[in-house]
């Protein structure tokens, strides 16, 4: 078999009669895998876990072929191979080295050790069987006189003893390996190229989507801000210019759109109205309801206002209880949203200091007198929207000179700190009492500040509304 130029594919190799194989491989899993391949092809296999064991098995009985791993404990593949190839008794046994061939110098080492063939890991079982067949079909060069060859690799010169047949066998197997690996690489490269194109397309899509999201987001933010401005219009827009009363308020929605709103206004020459409304829930639906309710609570005589009714030439102020009842009929909680609202609405007769009010499911009013005494009258009445046709209790309160009246939303007493504890009605009353000699605006600001401090670091989770009124008595 000297036709060294024939290009024979492994698949055309002559089929092999059953042979006895000695396998030196320290990985039990890989040894078992290879054993299965060989026994399925009809061969018999003996396994050694390292070079020393292989040598022993070799001495027991010569195999027809040796397959050896390189990385093995006690005696590696090169050493074992050298031992086999320098012993005249065993030199003729074809030996295949299993190698990762990661370093070109490995080839030199293989030659130097006298290996007949290289098979790189991971290998195709069919390829290995074909290599075996080729090797066994080609008698090894029997010449004991081996030339000492010089070869330069990576700038280094190696001296290697190798027979011509051995060199040819090794060369062919190495080259075949390289070609196979190259073919794999070409396929992988092509797949990689396709994957990269796919990635590029996906990236471009993502950029496009991101831009769309950004535009939609900006639009939504603009819409929310516009809605928030509509809601702001519900708040007091004119200062109440009545010499005998002082008014102060703070309004802090927890999101752009709020469920709370408040107002204080003159109804006529002798009356001032004030209210806090709290719609259940959060966000857009609550805010929409708030704005709608707000339209009915304008202090201007109009078709929609419930607060003032024209009566011939004059204007009649609707009693707070009637206002609540009418709102209740208009705004029964709708089945799909379940939204309702609570409300505290009062009408103050300024000359006398008499307040008529209604509290529909709302936190109770707080009256802080100049002497520091506090009254928190019980709040009666269900929230608006629960019972169709129900009547609301009108309640009365007579203010004395210097009395302060506070309306607020539950965002104040129910404000929660980091430990989920509520601020509490008592704490609220304590703050208002403590600041009773400060200007009214200062005491309202102080209450807000205490609530915000309580809610650190997250801040209030609910809208905060505070409305204060001081009755300075006639003439003062």
């Amino acid at each position: 078999m000297t036709d060294s130029t024939s290009q024979r594919q492994p698949s055309e190799a002559p089929s092999l009669r059953p042979v006895d194989v000695l396998l030196a491989e320290d990985s039990r899993i890989q040894a078992r895998m290879l054993e299965r391949v060989l026994t399925r092809a009809g061969h018999s296999v003996r396994i050694a876990g390292h070079g020393g064991e292989a040598t022993a098995l070799l001495a027991e009985r010569h195999p027809d072929l040796i397959i050896s791993d390189i990385e093995m404990p006690q005696m590696d593949g090169y050493a074992f191979c050298k031992a086999v190839k320098t012993d005249p008794a065993t030199r003729q046994i074809p030996l295949i080295l299993l190698s990762t061939l990661s370093d070109p110098v490995d080839i030199i080492r293989g030659l130097d050790a006298g290996a007949d063939n290289y098979v790189t890991k991971p290998y195709d079982p069919e390829y290995l069987l074909a290599r075996m067949a080729d090797l066994l079909a080609t008698p090894l060069g029997g010449d004991a006189e081996e030339a000492s060859l010089e070869v330069t690799l990576a700038g280094q010169t190696f001296k290697v003893k190798a027979g011509r047949q051995q060199v040819l066998n090794l060369l062919v197997s190495t080259f075949e390996n390289a070609v196979a690996k190259n073919r794999e690489l070409v396929v992988v490269n092509r797949d990689l190229s396709l994957a990269r194109d796919e990635l590029q397309r996906t990236n471009e899509e993502l950029v496009g989507l991101n831009e769309r999201i950004s535009r939609i987001n900006s639009q939504m933010t603009r819409d929310l801000e516009a809605a928030a401005r509509v809601q702001q219009s519900l708040l007091p827009d004119e200062a109440v210019e009545v010499p005998t009363i002082d008014v102060a308020w703070r309004y802090v929605p927890c999101q752009k759109l709020a469920g709370d709103f408040l107002n204080v206004f003159q109804l006529d020459a002798e009356h001032v109205g004030l209210f806090v409304v709290d719609v259940s829930g959060h966000g857009v639906p609550s805010s929409l309801l708030a704005v709608t309710v707000g339209r009915f609570l304008t202090p201007k005589v109009s078709d929609s206002s419930l607060l003032l009714r024209p009566d011939g030439d004059s204007v009649v102020i609707t009693s707070p209880a009637d206002v609540a009842a009418q709102l209740n009929d208009l705004f029964q909680a709708d089945e799909f949203s379940g939204l309702y609202f609570t409300m505290a609405y009062g009408v103050l007769h300024v000359p006398s200091g008499r307040l008529r009010y209604v509290s529909a499911g709302h936190p109770p009013l707080v009256r802080v007198a100049a002497d520091g005494s506090v009254e928190v009258p019980e709040s009666r009445g269900f929230p608006v929207g629960f019972v169709p046709g129900v009547e609301f209790d009108g309640q009365d309160l007579s203010l004395a000179a210097g009395d302060r009246l506070f309306l607020y939303s539950d965002g104040v007493p129910e404000a929660m700190n980091a430990q989920r504890e509520q601020f509490g009605e008592e704490a609220m009353v304590e703050v208002l009492t403590r600041h009773r000699t400060d200007p009214l605006d200062g005491s309202v600001a102080a209450l807000l500040a205490e609530v915000e401090r309580w809610c650190e670091p997250e801040g209030p989770l609910d809208d905060v509304s505070i409305l204060g009124l001081e009755w300075k008595a006639s003439g003062t």
Binding site: S280, G281, G283, Q332, A333, D334, E335, F336, S337, G338, L339, Y340, T342, G361, P363, S379, R380, G381, F382, P383, G385, F386, V387, P388, D410
Partner: protein, 117 residues
């Protein structure tokens, strides 16, 4: 036979009993699902006796009151009766602050509620 995810439904005599499964009834989605299931349970029937059992509920947003109000209105207007039971003190606060403890029929436990039907 409908499967409910938010309530355990059973029948005790003539009374429909719904036990809330969740410890917390907080967000919009949970409320929406509850609304669908409770209104679905009611269906188009008239004269329904319904008991809502709050044993498992540890936290409830005030928005839930709206749903209870809607349920109450529908049941009462179709000549049925709605009762609630086993409401923890912290949750009961939410009812008290809005005076709704005087609107709804609330009992300490299921036995007391059933006896009152």
């Amino acid at each position: 036979m409908t499967t409910y995810r938010k309530i355990d439904v059973s029948k005790v005599g003539e009374v429909d009993v719904a036990v809330f499964k969740d410890k917390k009834i907080l967000d919009e989605e949970a409320l929406d699902e509850l609304r669908t299931e409770l209104l679905g349970l009611l269906g188009t029937r008239a004269g329904v006796d319904l008991l809502l059992d709050f044993s498992n509920v540890e936290f409830m947003s005030s928005a839930m009151l709206g749903l209870l109000g809607v349920l109450n209105r529908k049941i009462v207007s179709s000549k049925g009766r709605l009762k609630m039971c086993s409401i923890r003190p912290e949750i009961f606060q939410v009812f008290k602050l809005t005076n709704l403890d005087k609107l709804f029929s609330i009992h300490p436990d299921a036995a007391a509620a059933m006896a009152a039907f």
